[in-house]
């Protein structure tokens, strides 16, 4: 079995964090998840600064990114990641409640690798998260420089 790769979950809503982690737990991926509670924290993690100054080197295998967040929102994070040479290779999956077309368009314009609307049905939500985790953390071969366990 392949090594599990680290997942960065950027989400401000604790309910969503809990439900997401619950879903990922189904594949035993929960332990591999680093949760950033907003965009600023996410960037701190990626740039190894602030609270994450001392973390080990390496990029996450995937970033699950909510859009609507306090301080620095998801689109800003996406924009920063995709315009930084050292970060742009990190797969980013926008995971949001928004079905607004403009969010979808803007996200892809900024270079997101996937855009997933959180289903209202819990079962569907769990399925979606499970599939995402399985794909990005297990199946997908991350780019060189990804953080390994």
């Amino acid at each position: 079995m392949k090594e599990l790769k680290r997942i960065l979950l950027v989400e401000d809503n604790p309910n969503d964090i809990e439900l997401t982690l619950e879903a990922l737990a189904e594949y035993n991926l929960a332990n591999e998840v680093v949760v950033a509670r907003d965009g600023a924290e996410a960037l701190d993690y990626l740039y190894r600064r602030g609270d994450y100054k001392l973390r080990t080197e390496g990029n996450p295998a995937v970033v699950l990114l909510d859009l609507k967040m306090p301080r620095v929102d998801g689109l800003e994070v996406l924009k920063t990641v995709k315009s930084d040479e050292s970060l742009k290779s990190i797969p980013v999956v926008v995971l949001t409640s928004s079905q607004e077309e403009r969010d979808l368009v803007e996200s892809y314009r900024l270079g997101t690798n996937a855009y997933v609307v959180k289903p209202v049905e819990f079962k569907e939500f769990v399925d979606a998260i499970k599939h995402l985790g399985a794909f990005w953390a297990i199946l997908n071969e991350p780019p060189v420089g990804s953080l390994r366990k």
Partner: protein, 822 residues
């Protein structure tokens, strides 16, 4: 060349020269004819004379022969000779008797002056003589016959006319007589006196005075000329004197034996016409002549007469020609002078003559013409007057046109300029129209006493030091003399401003006024404005007044329009501010709405998801602890949350439909419907549904929105026919007007009650229980919203249990509109 000279030349060439030439020709010919006639006449006379001479001599010869043959003569002559000395002898007497009778008979019959018998010695023995003449018996023949006796022995002999001594004039003819035995017995002698010879040439009838006939008798070396009329001319000429010379050439020719006629010189040395004949028996020459002078005298006279007549003719012709020329030229000249006088303008002048010839007619025609010309001139004067009037009218029209053009320029000016520029432009145009140097414009208030100086013309401003007083209000009694125009409500012209008694001084810096024209602008009986121009180089006239008045009137309309426009601009500006404010409000509202939608989308769904999530987790983790009731509650919470999520999604969609940008193109709804039906395949499984989709024209619309319409309508139809064993759903269109197309989706489902038709298209309005038919009730609301945004209408027809039909219209697709179907 003057007409006079021409006429004279024509006259000379056509009349005088031909007549003269003809006359000369004629007379030269007449001369020839007269000569020929004369010569013929002379020849006739000469011939006649020769005949007479010839017959004279043959008569003499005949008589001699009578005697020679006469037996009595031959018998008795010797007897008479024998008894000549014895005349009383009866024998002598017997012998003499028959002789005497015979001789006298011959003498009388032939007109001899004497007939004699001569004996052998030449002595007259018997004689018969003309009464009065002496008896010749006893005389010797040689006494008056010279050699006649001797010559008469041989044969018949004629002597000359004159005796040897010239003592008498007569002609003696002697002839020998022979006796019965043939012996010479004597001679017969016939004596003709000169008269009988003259009588031979006496006939000169028709020869005139100088005409005569000569006999030329040769006498040895001489020629004796005998003339019957002019005995004094009976002369003798020595042959040698004139033979060989020109003198008496006719006689020379005649004596030479020639006959002829022609011009000659006679023996007298006269020029004559002559005919000459030779008389062979006598050897004489005969010449008939007439003096050339007399012969041609008729011609000469005729010539003289003709010359005279000619001269008279020429003189008359010249006189007549002169008269004719004068009669033609003088009237012509009078006509010419008359024409010049008339031409110089005196149309009352009369060339007129009472002559009846062409010139006279011409002159009268000329007078008539002059008279007509006078009339024409008179009518021309009228015409001039008319033309002057027309020119005046034309001038007025021209000025009117100028005014119109100026008005047009003012109107154009008004399009892009403010009120002041418009007024200045009006004044500039008024100045230009009247060639003025200054111009001013005042508004007059409705009280008719308050003035407001509005502006001056460009030129006035440039010539004035200050532009003070602009826009200032001041009463009429403070204004200059020009306010007369307001008081009188009529244009005022002061061509001599200086002399005006009531003029007031001009303010300092004001342009000096020489003359002025001030026109009021009247509206509704009140003066609303005053336009004034001044300082034209000449005096202002009625045309200027009219032009300024008209221009002022027209300009006022433009000014009013400009004022209205300014007012309207003000309103517009206010309106724009209002619109901007309103738009800002709307934009803000829209943004709020968007933010609201966004929040709903984001924030409203999240709690729902959380409710669901945790209900699920609760069921999973604590499900066993719950009783059946608790489990049903959890289930209800979950279903309600789900339902709420659907409602929120529908609301968001509905909201989006109202705001989303439309991408218009040609849309084939039929094909779109077929695709939708194809996608709904799974929903129809196990059902008996008949789809009827007719061909239909393309429409113009947003494909994604219209697709939503088709999905809504077709799924509705499918939904409300679900209770039917056999369903029939039809999508088609009605025949339209080409501008829009009316579509319908008809089903034979449960239908609806028409009394609730108004609720059909409302948001979340349902006509059926949610337990009967699923759905949020927003589908037809979306349809109506989309169709409305396309400019179409929606309506429904149906009856409970009998199916429903939803109608909607869409604009037809025109050529030229975008068509992305291809």
């Amino acid at each position: 060349m003057a007409i006079r000279t021409k006429l004279a030349l024509i006259f000379l060439l056509l009349i005088i020269l031909p007549v003269t030439a003809g006359t000369i020709l004629l007379f030269s010919h007449v001369g020839d004819v007269v000569r020929d006639v004369r010569l013929l006449q002379l020849e006739n006379v000469a011939n006649l004379a020769r005949e007479k001479v010839e017959s004279f001599f043959s008569e003499r010869k005949g008589n001699a022969e009578l005697f020679q043959k006469n037996a009595a003569v031959r018998t008795n002559l010797p007897i008479v000779e024998k008894y000549s000395r014895d005349r009383n002898n009866p024998a002598y007497l017997n012998a003499c008797r028959p002789l005497a009778g015979y001789m006298e008979a011959v003498r009388a019959a032939y007109g001899y002056s004497g007939v004699m018998l001569v004996d052998r010695t030449g002595k007259v023995v018997a004689a018969a003589v003309k009464a009065g003449n002496s008896d010749k018996v006893g005389m010797s023949l040689s006494d008056f016959g010279g050699e006649a006796f001797e010559a008469g022995r041989a044969g018949v002999y004629f002597t000359d006319m004159h005796g040897p001594d010239g003592s008498y004039a007569g002609l003696l003819c002697t002839a020998p007589l022979r006796g019965l035995s043939g012996e010479f017995i004597g001679e017969a002698a016939f004596l003709s006196d000169k008269e009988s010879v003259y009588s031979l040439v006496r006939d000169a009838s028709g020869l005139g005075v100088s005409g005569e006939t000569y006999i030329g008798m040769p006498m040895g070396g001489e020629v004796q000329f005998i003339n019957a009329f002019h005995p004094d001319r009976n002369t003798v000429k020595n042959k040698a004197d004139f033979f060989g010379g020109k003198l008496a050439m006719p006689m020379q020719n005649a004596l030479s034996g020639k006959d002829g006629s022609g011009d000659a010189v006679d023996y007298l040395g006269h020029d004559v016409l002559a005919a000459w004949r030779h008389a062979p028996t006598a050897g004489w020459g005969l010449v008939s002549k007439i003096d050339a002078e007399e012969a041609y005298s008729a011609v000469t006279r005729l010539k003289a007469a003709a010359l005279g007549a000619g001269l008279v003719f020429v003189a008359f012709s010249v006189a007549a020609g002169g008269f004719l020329v004068r009669s033609i030229v003088n009237p012509v000249r009078e006509l010419q002078m008359g024409a010049e006088i008339i031409g110089s303008g005196d149309l009352d002048y009369k060339v007129g003559t009472d002559k009846s010839d062409e010139i006279g007619q011409l002159s009268r025609s000329f007078d008539r013409m002059a008279e007509n010309l006078k009339k024409v001139t008179a009518s021309r004067d009228e015409l001039d007057l008319e033309i002057a009037e027309r020119e005046k009218a034309e001038e007025a029209r021209r000025r009117a046109v100028e005014v119109l053009r100026a008005s047009l320029r003012i109107s154009e000016h008004a399009l892009h300029h403010g009120l002041d520029e418009l007024l200045t432009k009006t004044l500039d145009e008024a100045e230009k129209l009247t060639a003025s140097r200054i111009g001013f414009f005042h508004f007059v208030e409705a009280d008719q006493v308050t003035l407001r100086l509005q502006t001056w013309s460009t030129n006035t401003l440039s010539s004035m030091c200050t532009a003070e007083g602009k826009g200032a209000h001041y009463p009429v009694d403070k204004a200059g003399v020009w306010v007369d125009a307001i008081v009188r409500k009529a244009p005022v012209v002061h061509n001599d401003y200086e002399s005006l008694p009531h003029k007031k001084g001009l303010p300092p810096g004001h342009a000096p006024v020489v003359r002025e024209l001030v026109a009021p602008i009247l509206r509704g009986g009140l003066v609303v404005g005053v336009i004034g121009v001044g300082n034209k180089a000449e005096e202002y006239d009625d045309g200027d007044v009219e032009a300024v008045s008209q221009l002022a009137g027209r300009a006022w309309d433009v000014i009013l329009a400009k004022l209205a426009e300014l007012e309207l601009d003000e309103y517009r500006r206010n309106l724009e501010v209002m619109v901007e404010a309103r738009t800002a409000e709307l934009t803000a509202a829209n943004k709020e709405l968007e933010a609201f939608s966004y929040s709903v989308s984001h924030d409203l769904r999240a709690p729902l998801r959380h409710i669901q999530g945790f209900v699920e987790l609760l069921a999973k983790n604590a499900g066993a602890a719950l009783d059946e009731k608790g489990g049903r509650y959890l289930s209800t919470i979950s279903v309600s949350a789900t339902r709420m999520g659907e409602l929120i999604d529908d609301l968001l969609t509905f909201s989006r439909m109202g705001r989303a940008e439309m991408r218009m193109t040609a849309v084939d709804l039929g094909r779109m419907a077929e695709n939708v039906v194809q996608e709904m395949r799974t929903d129809v499984e196990g059902r008996d549904v008949r789809w009827v989709i007719g061909g239909m024209p393309p429409v113009y619309g947003d494909p994604s929105m219209l697709r939503l319409v088709m999905v809504n309508l077709l799924s509705n139809a499918l939904k409300f026919t679900a209770t039917r064993a056999h369903a029939s759903i039809e999508f088609g269109c009605l025949p339209g007007d080409g501008k829009e197309v009316t579509f319908f989706v008809r089903d034979d489902g449960v239908g609806f009650d028409m009394q609730y038709v108004d609720k059909l298209f409302g948001v979340f309005q349902r006509l059926h229980k949610s337990e009967e038919f699923e759905g949020t009730g927003i589908g037809l609301a979306n349809v109506r919203r989309i169709i409305s945004r396309h400019g179409g209408r929606t309506w429904a027809e149906g009856a409970l249990g009998e199916g429903a039909a939803i109608y909607f219209t869409l604009p037809a697709h025109y050529e030229g509109e975008p068509d992305e179907r291809a």
